[in-house]
C-alpha cells in the first residue's frame, strides 16, 4: 500500500530529526536523559525542605510522601511535553535559514511536526526507562500508576497536550517576523504555562476558585490532570474532559498559527541570504 506523500515526508523528516538529536552522543545524553532524571530527584529534596521549614505534616490535602509522589509524577509527565527550546524557528527567521524551505514544495510546519514526533518518541522512551528505574530504585517514593488504563490515559493526555505546546511555541516563534523579543516571550510563556499546569506548585495549594478555573486550560490537562489520573486522584474517565479541553485549544491555536505564519511571510525580508 502506498503511503500518502505527506505522511512519507513526515516519517522521513522524523527520522532526520532523530538522527540530528543523536548526532552528538553526549549532547543526547545530557539533553534527553539527564534532564529527565534531574527534576524528579530535585523535587524530592526540595519538598522535604518545604515541609521541614513549615513544620507541616500536610499541605493542600497531601502529606509529604503524597506531595513528593505527585510532584515526581508531574515532573515525569512534563518530560513528555514539547519544550520551547525544541523549536529554533525564530532564530531561523532572524538568520534567514528558513529561506531554503520557502522555495520547497512543502509546509514549513511539517518539519516542526516532525520534531514533535521525534521528541514524543524519544521522551516516551526516556519516560518508560525512568518509570521502570524509578519504581525499582525508589520503591514507595516513585509514583506508580493505579492501573494500566490510568497510565495510558495519562500518556494520551500528555502527548495531546504536548501538541498544543508545539502549536503555541510555533506561533510565538513566528512573531520573529515582526519582533526580536521571541526568546523573552518564550521564557515568559514557559514560566506561566508551567505554573498553570501545576508544575511549580500543586494546584491544590492554590485558592479553590483559581484551581477550578485552571482546569479549563490545556496546560492543566497536559501535566497536572494526567498526573492526578495516574495517581488515582481522578477517575480515568476524566480523560475525555481533558481531551475535549485540548481539542478546543487546538481548534483555536491551529488557525491562529496559520494566520500569523502567513502574515509573517508577507513581511519576511530573507535576511542573511
Amino acid at each position: 500500500m502506498a503511503v500518502h506523500p505527506q505522511v512519507a515526508l513526515l516519517l522521513q523528516a522524523t527520522l532526520y530529526e532523530l538522527k540530528k538529536v543523536t548526532a552528538w552522543r553526549m549532547g543526547f545524553f545530557v539533553r534527553e536523559i539527564a534532564r529527565a532524571l534531574l527534576r524528579p530527584l530535585l523535587t524530592i529534596f526540595m519538598f522535604q525542605a518545604v515541609f521541614a521549614a513549615q513544620g507541616a505534616t500536610e499541605l493542600g490535602g497531601r502529606d509529604l510522601d503524597g506531595t513528593v509522589r505527585y510532584l515526581i509524577a508531574v515532573a515525569w509527565i512534563e518530560g513528555l511535553i514539547f519544550h520551547d527550546r525544541m523549536l529554533d524557528l525564530a532564530e531561523q527567521i532572524f538568520q534567514g535559514y528558513v529561506t531554503k524551505y520557502l522555495v520547497m514544495p512543502m509546509r514549513c510546519f511539517t518539519l516542526a511536526l516532525a520534531r514533535y514526533v521525534q521528541f514524543s518518541i524519544t521522551q516516551t522512551g526516556v519516560a518508560a526507562l525512568l518509570g521502570i528505574g524509578g519504581a525499582l530504585l525508589l520503591p514507595g517514593v516513585w509514583p506508580l500508576p493505579v492501573a494500566p488504563e490510568a497510565l495510558l490515559a495519562a500518556l494520551v493526555l500528555a502527548l495531546a497536550g504536548s501538541y498544543c505546546f508545539l502549536l503555541l511555541y510555533f506561533l510565538l516563534n513566528s512573531i520573529a517576523f515582526w519582533l526580536e523579543v521571541v526568546w523573552t516571550l518564550l521564557v515568559m510563556t514557559r514560566f506561566v504555562t508551567m505554573f498553570l499546569a501545576g508544575v511549580m506548585l500543586p494546584l491544590s495549594w492554590m485558592p479553590e476558585p483559581l484551581a477550578r478555573a485552571l482546569e479549563y486550560g490545556f496546560p492543566y490537562w497536559s501535566i497536572a490532570g494526567p498526573a492526578e489520573i495516574l495517581l488515582g486522584e481522578r477517575p480515568v474517565s476524566d480523560v475525555w474532559t481533558g481531551l475535549a479541553v485540548i481539542g478546543v485549544s487546538i481548534t483555536v491555536l491551529e488557525p491562529l498559527r496559520r494566520v500569523v505564519w502567513k502574515r509573517g511571510l508577507a513581511r519576511y525580508g530573507g535576511s542573511g541570504m
Binding site: 506523500p5 532526520y16 529561506t99 514544495p105 519576511y268 530573507g270 541570504m273
Partner: protein, 348 residues
Amino acid sequence: MTSRAEHSGKAPVGQPVLRCQGLQKVFQTHRRDPGMRGLLRSFVARETIEVPALRGIDLSIEAGEFVGLIGANGAGKTTLVKVLTGIVPATQGRSELFGEPSFELSDAAKSRLSIVMGQRSQLWWDLAPLDSFLLLREIYRVEKSDFDLRLEQLARRLAVTEQLRIPLRHLSLGQRMRMEILGAFLHRPQLVFLDEPTIGLDLVSREEIRTILSEINREQGATIVLSSHDMEDIENTCRRLLILSEGRLLYDGDLVKLRERLFEKRAIELHLEPHAAEPDPAVLAELCGADVQLLRSSAGALSFAVPAARVQPFLAQVFARLAVRDLAIERTPLDVLVRELFQREGEG
C-alpha cells in the same frame, strides 16, 4: 528521471519560465542618529525610511537559458532573486514563474525550482549529506529508483561519492559546495538560481563547478540564473548577462556582444621604482591617448584600462617613459565595467 510530481523532463525551449514587469521592492528601515540625543529620539519617535532595492525591473527568461546576474554589492541582485522566487513579495509590479505569481507559487511550480545559496547551506551540518538528500527526495517526491540513479550519476560527476556518508562538517568547503549543487539538481529542476556558488573555492574547484553547471544546462535544458561577483564564472558559463546597478537593470543582453564592447579591455597596474620621480602629467596624457584610460593614480602606482589589442604597444611605450618595477595585467574589473556602462548610458 521521472518523479511523482509534475516536474520531470525539460521545459519547452523558447518558452518563458520567468517573467517580470515593473518590478519594484522597497524595504523599510529605521534611521538612528548617533549619541544620546539620537538614542532618545529614536526610542520616542522612530524615523522610518524607505530603501528602494529594485526600481522597475522588466525581464523575461526562456527555458534553457544560462543567464549571468552581476552587480556591485547592494545593486539588488539577491533581492531580485528573492522576489522572483517568491521568498519575499514585490512592493509593486508583476513577477511570474512558470506562469504563476512568484509569491503564490503552487507546490507543483516549486517542484520545478531550485536555489543554491553560496553563503547559506541547504544541508544539515551534523549529518551526512545522504541524510539531507533522502529528506529532499521526500520533499520533492522523487521515486526511489530514480533518486538512486540520479544520486549515483551526480555524485560521480561531482566526485563526491566517497563523501556522501560523512557528516557535512567534516567536508572541505569545495566538497560542501558540490554537495549543495548535488542537492539542488537531484529533483531535476527546470529553473535553478545559484547565488555565489563558487565563493571561497580554489581555482580548480571553481573551474570544475562551472563545467558541471554548463553540462547540466546543456544536457538537461535546465534554465540557470547565476549570480556571482566572479567574472570568470559568468564568462565561462553564461550566454546572456544581466547587470544590475542601484536596483535598475543596466544591461540585459548577449555576453559575447558585451565582451566585444567592454571585456576586450585589460586593467594594467604599474608599480614604479620607489625613488623615481612622479610621472610627468604630460607623459601620462601621452600614454592615455584616445582609447587608454587612466583609472587610478596613487603614490608609486598607476592603473590603466587598455584595449586588449593595444596592450603590447602600450607596454612598450610605458617601459620607454616610466621606471617600472612591477606590473599586473587583468581583465577589466567589474566596477570599471559598470562605470563604463554608466558613462555610455549617460552619453547615449
